[in-house]
Subunit: 545 residues, 2 copies
Amino acid sequence: MKIALAQLNYHIGNFEGNFAKMQDAILKAKKNQADLICFSELASCGYPPRDFLEFRDFISQSMNLVNKLCELSHDIAIVVGAPSVNPNLEGKDLFNSAFFLYEGKVQSITHKALLPNYDIFDEYRYFEPNRKFEMVHFKSKKIAVTICEDIWNLGNENPMYTICPLDEVIDQKPDFILNLSASPFSYEHAKDRLNVLRANVLKYKIPIFYVNCIGAQTDILFDGGSAVLSGDGLCYEELPFFIEDLQYYDLDSVTAGGINREQEKNEIELIYQALVLGIRDYFNKMGFSKAILGLSGGIDSALTACLAVAALGKDQVRVLLMPSQYSSEGSVLDAIALADNLGIQYDTIPIGSVFNEYKSTLDPYFKNLPENVTEENIQARIRGMLLMAFSNKFSAILLNTTNKSEMAVGYGTLYGDLCGGLAVLADVYKTQVYQLANYINRQNEIIPENTIQKPPSAELKPGQKDSDSLPDYSILDKILYQYIEKSLGPKELIQMGFDPAIVMQTLKMVNRAEFKRYQSPPVIRVSSKSFGLGRRMPIEAKYLN
Amino acid sequence: MKIALAQLNYHIGNFEGNFAKMQDAILKAKKNQADLICFSELASCGYPPRDFLEFRDFISQSMNLVNKLCELSHDIAIVVGAPSVNPNLEGKDLFNSAFFLYEGKVQSITHKALLPNYDIFDEYRYFEPNRKFEMVHFKSKKIAVTICEDIWNLGNENPMYTICPLDEVIDQKPDFILNLSASPFSYEHAKDRLNVLRANVLKYKIPIFYVNCIGAQTDILFDGGSAVLSGDGLCYEELPFFIEDLQYYDLDSVTAGGINREQEKNEIELIYQALVLGIRDYFNKMGFSKAILGLSGGIDSALTACLAVAALGKDQVRVLLMPSQYSSEGSVLDAIALADNLGIQYDTIPIGSVFNEYKSTLDPYFKNLPENVTEENIQARIRGMLLMAFSNKFSAILLNTTNKSEMAVGYGTLYGDLCGGLAVLADVYKTQVYQLANYINRQNEIIPENTIQKPPSAELKPGQKDSDSLPDYSILDKILYQYIEKSLGPKELIQMGFDPAIVMQTLKMVNRAEFKRYQSPPVIRVSSKSFGLGRRMPIEAKYLN
């Protein structure tokens, strides 16, 4: 039996586009005489469809797509993820299902049993869990069809769930496991995922064919890494990360095992690729090609510009240098050097005259009040407005350059440097920003060394440095990681050896910045806990602040 | 037996403040010789605590509060909602519980069985549902303790749930039902709620004591309306809406029934009160007292100013008039008349000079390109920036004045008129804005009649009217209501008789504006479906757009 795995990039609600992609893969698979082709979880409508699932019209368009696929299934079996309507009166309206299509008919529908409802996941909001477990019979083979999370409760060791779907069918002696996933990327996740697949095949002694999707759905990224593991625990093949692919496997050869082709996983390289795809996909799916961003001479905007060029091409990226009276000459020169290295169009627009006009407009009201954060914010907002004017006039999406450390502690101006259609680095800590910059410079200097070496500064008042108001990033980032990614509280952090005053100052800043994050652009997610729908916090709470 | 119901306003994570309020109520109840006092759902930590529930420190501070209450329970029983740790390895880490405290001890802990996980609710993200049903015995009475949603599956008719908790205990013959709720306000909900309470008492033939909280948690509002119903289905008493209250009831008298004191419910009046409390609470809980907003002479900003004055007092509300070259003289006069009627400080700051400075700064890049939405947005953003400058300089929160119709179709400028700490009207359709304006003017003219009568206009280009780019609000709002509140799709809307072209244009505008809403301020929720966490939509989907 020849099995085709289709690792594709879907677009939410784009039923026509998604069908065209699948049709193309099916025709290729037929030519290659595959017996079965498998697509990923909710491939019909794209993942995560969110509240579109509450629209009957959306579900019916998804079913139309499944029916059209059905017509292509006369000499190949097609396994595809799609929502299906729960026929029972009790329970949620939908199941998260895998349709098994063959000979022009729906042969079976398998529902997902384990529904993630944590972090970015809301599956229990829409779906009823499966409680009935059956295998699919196809050409004298028995297939255990599972969907994503279904294989993540091995031995029932995951406290969130009370059943392990494969335990329910293993007595029927399946020949192999098929898993349709929409498993989001985080830089630590690729390894975890392969470990879970390995544990499954070692327990059940049968191969697994695991199909993930790729692509960005605004904030959430899918990295692919679809894989085939044999019952001996070896990785027969792992599909590439962040690239569409269609591969064929002979079941007998996989069952025989003995082959290991696991690919290398470098965290910084994965983050780099993720961010590039995150930008590219957002533009593609929104129907834009041009990006605009501000270059300050600092490392965050420099890195963002490099990623944008890698994603969209240098002719599609335009940058503005917007020095104020507090900008150092070095910053401007560094920004120009970067733009030259990247070969992108840049313009220098000093903000002094607009700033002065604001000040004289406000002078009758502010009178002799001392300058403070108000005037710093005005500068940041003038830059945001100039960038948005270019964005509007030239149909370019503004890329936001804020990093995760700043976004965490609220070191940024709402409607100023927090403007943008997409926050490229807001899930990348400052210390990781440096690692990415060095990765980009690994062969030759693209980001000027001076940009990497100089102390970070917002340059909004004379001699300002980030370290005036923030702890050192080397310490700050460690505290933030434990608080944000690991949900550790003040006592636990202090027990770990962090300075109590710095801990309390940091947590206070994070909790007080919730109102800013609420209005910030969507953040490309590369960690296990990013700002956005995966981290839901009250704005006006009084806790540690 | 004398039962006290405490309808209080809690602050998320403010354990000290919440304890002080409860202690005060307990001392009063003791003086009044109450046998039992009941607080609402998750009163310890405030509702909804969201992902703070994932912090062990947060849970342990909540448990400290419960233990402190316990010490006050020597001669009064205290029933209080708080998260409790699930001692079992399997399942979510927490239960959503009601602690029954008496004689200095935790006498019992009842867990919530039905966990809402739709709209704004995410309870299944955190809590394990109860599966064990027992009554609480107290002073020779048997009490069926339930939490909020537990009484919303009467006769198991709610398809989302498979059990009805009261059915599980009714054989044990409880004397009355206690329900601890955190039941959010929407303008249709107060009636539904009373109907549900009535259905429960009529089915089980015993009284119910229902305790809700009041107050705003940023976007989500609680209206109180705690109630006591006797077994004959009559409303023995309903507590006021949007006001803290502490009331006492003699169980025998309630059981005897025969008394009906249901309060009147006027939807527009309820929305008015809700918005006023929404503003007041946001400021209180964020620690601010002063508001700033822009007055355009239009009805949305006029209404917002009236609500702000009602919430904060006229001395705490300051407004800016920021006419451009396209503002009509009438608009400025209308705005001044309103400010005078309200007695609030206003300043007139024409935006022409800053606008011209922007234009000349951008001229070398925009060259001979025709003026378009870019220049309209610049004007809106100058206003946003001036307001934010006042906000920063005078520690005032900027109130956003966008209405729900505009927010739905994206008729607003990101970082311009979409700025603000809180969107006061963004869950109020334009047609409801008029109703509220008339409600405010019911005794004398506060909002100038001209503001109410003139055709709506953004005044960003010569002779501009909303009706140039939008369908009539009377039709638009009906389509939006069916699409947003009722999740109806294009076919269903056209079947209802709406013009197909207008339907498709409207849905397209709504779906394309998702990127704007993502970055908009939190919206005070008054309907059953508001923008924010209750409506989760992908940004880059290709569906009906």
